[in-house]
């Protein structure tokens, strides 16, 4: 059976995890494992009004596709979905969703983990924090820990 076609979506809208899961599993009998990553907007300090997600239209989709194609080459997946939002996102709201489906769990776990590591360091998105207490807004700085995460996948060509 052919894999479900790769889905890459960069959108201002929220996503529906249940519908995306169904897209990868419905009417199939070759899916043994679906690993889903949801990334949400945090605000432990209670100082954040919203995150503003800026992206590079065109390149964002192209770069996500390059990372996804690399994952599809490295693991025997039956389906893969990557959705990244842009625009104003409030604390508690969704930012990013990755689903990887496979016959076996190891492939699904690793592909999903890999996708997130490379998405963080290579997909052209930038977060700006809007604070509640002031009109101030500040750009989030990149974390070196994200680069470290990406280098875990040594075999990678990207």
């Amino acid at each position: 059976m052919q894999p479900v076609p790769l889905k890459i979506l960069v959108t201002a809208n929220d996503f529906d995890v249940a519908a995306e899961t169904r897209r990868l599993t419905e009417a199939r009998k070759d899916v043994g494992a679906v690993v889903t990553f949801s990334g949400l907007c945090r605000d432990e300090a209670g100082t954040l009004s919203a995150l503003e997600l800026e992206h590079y239209p065109g390149m964002a989709e192209a770069e996500l596709k390059r990372i996804a194609d690399e994952a599809l080459e490295r693991w025997p997946l039956t389906g893969l979905t990557v959705i990244h939002r842009f625009g104003m996102i409030r604390p508690g709201e969704n930012i990013v969703l990755v689903l990887a489906a496979s016959a076996h769990r190891r492939a699904a776990f690793e592909a999903c983990d890999f996708l997130m590591d490379f998405l963080k360091t290579r997909a052209p998105f930038w977060k700006k924090e809007h604070l509640t207490e002031s009109n101030e807004a500040r750009w989030v700085e990149a974390k070196t820990s994200d680069d470290d995460d990406a280098t875990r996948w040594k075999k990678s060509k990207i």
Binding site: G39, L53, E54, H55, Y56, G58, M59, A62, E63, H84, I95, V96, M116, L119, K120, T121, R122, A123, P124, F125, W126, K127, K128, W139, V140, E141, A142, D146
Partner: protein
């Protein structure tokens, strides 16, 4: 050539997108950054630390020393913080 700026590079240059006629001497992304830096105060501030800045040529990541003279579109942006 179309040149794009994102995040604080866009804010500091005051420009999201512009057309630039590359001077003869500009071959690489680093050359272009150093040339842009001289334009005015905003560009100087935007490119104050060129080693920090990421470059894409035709919507693909490239190194600062890569030849960009054939690109239709070049973009400058800070390290990414999506996900």
């Amino acid at each position: 050539m179309k040149v794009l700026y994102f995040a604080w590079l866009r804010e500091r240059t005051g420009t999201a997108e512009e057309q630039i006629e590359l001077p003869e001497a500009v071959k690489t992304g680093m050359d272009l950054m150093l040339w842009l830096k001289q334009r005015d105060e905003g560009y100087d501030y935007a490119f104050e630390d060129p080693d920090l800045i990421r470059i894409a040529a035709d919507q693909e990541h490239v190194e600062a020393d890569a030849d960009i003279t054939q690109a239709r579109e070049v973009a400058f942006f800070p390290p990414m913080t999506g996900g």
